[in-house]
């Protein structure tokens, strides 16, 4: 599914540079459910950005499927993100002036799908996350759990092979967190690869495998699937 080999990433701050990722090296198989854990500053968000083709890296190799993801043009990166990856964010990142339905349909808009078609599909995905009746509501009228479910529907609508979730439960209470993790498990059960970045051990416990980062290095990789 995806493979990282000796990924290094530096942040240059004025005179000195910060070595954020040091020789990060791992592989994720199709259909895995993986947690990436680490304290803040461990480099896990940077890693997620690289995995999500939102950021580039300085050395090493990142392959998504058969594609080498390196030095892509912005348009190309956008196309790959749209095609392969669904994002779930801690703060949901729904567009406030759009209804739940329109938010879910947005990735299809960038694929050039017609309005009628994408609204139809978006409604199916809202139904799948149990929010069909909320289709015409604005994010401001919904609870945090509902917003995150809308965001998950939006992540799924492009039929991605990989879901990247960045602290998906970070802004939610325990009960809602559990519901969201149930939903992610369900999605995983349909065969989609799910990667969750978290610092919550309970969230990590729901996954099959946990990759721990410390100071930009992989220090532990529990339950790694056999290659």
């Amino acid at each position: 599914m995806l493979r990282l080999s000796k990924i290094n990433k530096y942040y240059r701050i004025a005179t000195h540079s910060l070595h954020v990722l040091r020789d990060v090296d791992f592989e994720v198989q199709d259909g895995e459910f993986v947690a990436i854990m680490g304290a803040s500053g461990s480099g896990k968000s940077t890693l997620l950005n690289i995995l999500g083709i939102l950021d580039d890296y300085d050395s090493g190799e990142y392959r998504l499927g058969d594609t080498l993801i390196k030095d892509l043009s912005e348009s190309k990166a956008a196309a790959y993100r749209n095609k392969f990856i669904g994002f779930v964010f801690q703060s949901f990142n729904l567009l406030p002036f759009k209804t739940a339905l329109e938010n879910v349909a947005l990735p299809l808009y960038y694929q050039g799908v017609s309005r009628r078609k994408r609204n139809q599909v978006a409604l199916q995905y809202l139904e799948r996350v149990g929010l069909r009746d909320w289709a015409e509501h604005l994010p401001s009228e919904m609870s945090g759990g509902q917003k995150q479910r809308v965001a998950i529907a939006r992540a799924l609508i492009g039929k991605p092979r990989l879901i990247l979730a960045d602290e998906p439960t970070g802004a939610l209470d325990t009960t809602t967190s559990k519901q969201i993790m149930d939903l992610l498990s369900e999605i995983h059960a349909t065969g989609i690869t799910v990667l969750v970045v978290t610092h919550d051990p309970e969230v990590a416990a729901r996954t099959q495998r946990t990759i721990r980062l410390r100071d930009g290095k992989v220090v532990d990789d529990e339950g790694e699937a056999a290659a």
């Binding site: 939102l54 956008a78 994002f87 990142n93 567009l95 309005r115």
Partner: protein, 417 residues
């Protein structure tokens, strides 16, 4: 591809801060309104001034004799040039000349003469004229007619009076036609009351004039063969200044004036006046365009500025869009569209307001003949150019913010929490 979503998005963005949108739009609105007002003002001044000049053939030329300033052909300098009736035929034979009317004034150029009707009298200009004058200066008649060919041939003692002469000499209930007026002891029968089609000072002068047949004037007041000056018009298609040169040159030969003596013969040329006036109006219109465009530019900079702020505020939204697969090109298109829609909408409103304003001014100025302003006319083509300029300006206003939006990195956007 027409997509309702795009419009909904633009609408949502513009609506999300109504005051800011309004103020931004107002800059463009004002710019266009000013542009329209300026062009309207220029055109109003032009139509107004042209209306005041109406009644003057625009290809009109006056020629009169002065005094020589060079000795020539054995003749001394300072010799007075006096045109005569014999000069008419050679001028008339010039292919470029349309109508020639010799004129002579009683008492000399612009001097008043006492004219009396019964017990009332006043001082007016008295001209000896040919019927051809009406081909050069446009006349209307309140009553009767102008001098005709028989008046000339028979040296009839008839007169046509200007309407202001009538107002001064006659009680309101008396029809002047058929009555007799006394000019320098000679009685003339009034055959017409003339109403000038010129306005302003020229028109007033026409209205304060008494016209008698040229031949009658000559005979009654012992003017011999003399001609005061020639009024003539060029045929259509002939360049005015060239005609002027031809006429002057013929008259110089006939009166033995040095070809280089430009002061011996005076002439006044309406075409050059019109050309100059035309130039002035072009200049005024140009100033209108420049000032209007600069005002518009200020509005456009305002739009650009606000769009830039808007884009910065929407960093996160743009980041999310990019994460979901928006290409830089689609982001650029989005911001540009917003800018174009905002400027075009505001501009069209400004244009509508401008058209309304000009229409209003048109109604007010339509019948106001005493001011040099006529109904303003801004042609459709100008309006269309303005619209094109607006859309272009909108695009221009969008370039910087759009480039900024496209350069937003999704991670930076998503980090900003």
């Amino acid at each position: 591809m027409f997509d309702l979503d795009k419009w909904k998005e633009i609408w949502a963005t513009l609506r999300s801060n109504k005051l800011r949108t309004f103020l931004t739009a107002f800059g463009v609105f004002w710019g266009i309104l000013m542009l329209m007002a300026m062009l309207g003002f220029a055109s109003s001044l032009e139509t107004g001034s042209r209306r005041q000049m109406k009644g003057l053939a625009t290809n009109m030329l006056f020629v009169w004799g002065q005094a020589t300033t060079e000795s020539y052909d054995g003749l001394p300098t300072g010799r007075e040039i006096q045109f005569t009736m014999d000069d008419i035929e050679p001028i008339r034979r010039l292919p470029a000349v349309d109508a020639v009317a010799p004129r002579i004034q009683l008492g000399g150029w612009q001097s008043g003469f006492t004219v009396a009707y019964e017990s009332k009298s006043g001082s007016f200009q008295v001209y000896g004229d040919y019927p051809d004058l009406t081909r050069i200066i446009a006349f209307g008649y309140e009553a009767g007619r102008f001098i005709n060919q028989r008046d000339i041939l028979e040296q009839r003692k008839v007169a046509v009076i200007g309407n202001l002469v009538r107002d001064e000499l006659y009680p309101p209930d008396v029809d002047p036609v058929g009555t007799y007026i006394k000019i320098s002891g000679v009685y003339f029968q009034v055959v017409g009351v003339m109403k000038t089609l010129r306005t302003g000072r020229e028109g007033e002068r026409d209205a304060l004039t008494v016209y008698v047949p040229f031949t009658t004037m000559r005979a009654s007041f012992n003017m011999g063969n003399r001609v005061g000056f020639f009024a003539l018009t060029a045929k259509p298609g002939f360049a005015g200044p060239a005609v002027e040169t031809q006429v002057r040159s013929i008259l110089k030969q006939r009166h033995r004036v040095s070809p280089t003596d430009e002061l011996a013969i005076g002439s006044f040329n309406m075409f050059q006046v019109f050309e100059k006036i035309g130039g002035i109006f072009t200049a005024i219109a140009l100033v209108g365009w420049v000032v209007g465009m600069l005002t518009l530019l200020a509005g456009v900079i305002g739009v650009s500025n606000i769009m830039l702020i808007t884009v910065k505020e929407r960093t996160k939204e743009i980041g999310v869009r990019k994460a979901l697969g928006a290409t830089p090109a689609s982001i650029v298109a989005m911001v540009m569209k917003e800018a174009v829609v905002l400027t075009a909408l505001a501009g069209l409103m400004g244009m509508a307001a401008g058209v309304g304003l000009l229409a209003l001014a048109g109604v007010v100025l339509e019948h106001a003949t005493n001011v040099p302003f006529g109904p303003p006319e801004v042609p459709l083509s100008t309006a269309l150019v303005a619209v094109a300029v607006l859309v272009g300006a909108g695009g221009l206003a969008g370039i910087m913010p759009a480039a900024h939006a496209a350069s937003i990195k999704p991670i930076e956007a998503l980090r900003a929490e």
